[in-house]
Subunit: 230 residues, 2 copies
DNA sequence: CGGCAACGTCTTGCATACAAGTTGCCGATG
DNA sequence: CATCGGCAACTTGTATGCAAGACGTTGCCG
């Protein structure tokens, strides 16, 4: 896919080339088309993306700051390998942020509108999504929405960044139907507690929910790595 | 200061040009040599930094992601103006993170070594720093150290980023000796409570301490802006 | 005198050229 | 056969060239 064949859409400025490449690369990491530990060069990515090295470099620089890749001095780039300690720390940050969010939500004089969450999670079993990746995305949305609903955009932004960092392994939590079921039940419980403004009910439930997800993910990831090693 | 006169230090690779420029620009923002709202171009910065536009662009891109500057399409860059709502949100994030940190510190079976903090803040009035900017830096260190001591590096990193965002206005809290005194007293109180692992003492103290700083800073900033407007 | 349109300058976004340094292969040698 | 040295190909870091668009200015027309 040489550079010259790139079709330049003229309708509506197609955002930055840098942004596009940034998003595409990030998606490739999320989709495991780029695996942790994989090495690659700027020229190679530039060729694949039909662009020059300049926007590729800018995109990679951003991905590095986000913690997804690292650069080896004059020796290429590589996708950052898993770091269990770090993943655990991200989960703990999530717990801190989300517990604080729930605390706020329960204390707010004028609780925000959470109709969207009600319609998504307080439904009979027949209305539930069963596709793993789909539930995974919904789960991320649920938790993000809780933080967002407090009205603190910066906290929501930070929560989003943290969520992206654990997204690669998070999906592993939704490969068993048992876990999907548990997710629905627990979200419903948590949401009901928040709507009734029962801080002391909601917080332990939420903490247990995230901790369960964390330990499940850790377990599966270790298992996967062991299997890959064989 | 034309580009050609740049002296290339050959002893020990002088890190990246990009990193240097990034740090210098950030420092200029912190030092008010670049004021909120100031506009500038890449070429201008490149000339001042004795470099080409390339590393300048990379540095600016990073600063934009950090939230310090913004780019106007084909029309230059500018230092992001104050946003009181956002500043308040950053203070709230600090409260969330630091309260969680203190909670953890009080709950840890093997409390970490906080000798450095003791030596800095549990001292008689005679051993206290009185220089405003110096106390400001020490204050930031104190709060950061609390989070760092929990052992969660990611939480510490996030806390650091948040601290940098409020650093420009934070110093305003240390222009009155009354506030410096209060800082010493409150830090001492908080630290003693943490060392005695009195979670329920430490948390309200810390929250009040940060809230006081927040409201003081907001007050002074509004006052300054009003004065500048005249 | 006011409004407007065309033009020139300046800006960023992207591509390309060049410099400095790393890696790995390949051959020579003990 | 193992090891060491050197060279060549690559890779990132930096500088520069080029294009498209934004903004101000200026001159013309109503």
């Amino acid at each position: 896919m040489p550079l010259s064949t790139r079709t330049k859409s003229k309708a509506a400025r197609p955002a930055n080339l840098t942004d596009q490449i940034y998003e595409r690369l990030k998606q490739e990491i999320f989709d495991f088309r780029l695996l942790p530990g994989d090495r690659f060069t700027e020229s190679e990515v530039a060729w694949r993306m039909c662009a020059s090295r300049t926007p590729v470099r800018e995109a990679l620089t951003r991905l590095r700051r986000d913690g997804f890749v690292e650069v080896l001095f004059r020796s290429g780039w590589k996708v950052k390998p898993f770091d269990f300690g770090q993943l655990g720390q991200f989960y703990d940050v999530r717990i801190v942020l989300e517990l604080a969010a729930v605390e706020r939500l329960c204390a707010m004089e004028q609780p925000p509108d959470l109709t969207d969450l009600k319609e998504q999670w307080l439904v009979p079993a027949s209305g539930r999504e069963t596709d793993g990746p789909a539930v995974c995305a919904l789960d991320e949305q649920f938790h993000h929405r809780l933080v967002e609903a407090t009205g603190n955009a910066e906290m929501a932004r930070i929560h989003h960044e943290v969520s992206e960092r654990i997204r690669v392994v998070r999906r592993l939590d939704f490969t068993k139907s048992r876990r999907i079921e548990a997710t629905y039940n627990e979200h419903a419980q948590i949401l009901r507690a928040v709507l009734r403004r029962r801080r002391d009910d909601a917080r332990p439930l939420l903490r247990a929910h995230i901790e369960a997800s964390k330990s499940e993910v850790m377990k599966i990831t270790v298992h996967m790595l062991e299997e890959a090693r064989r």
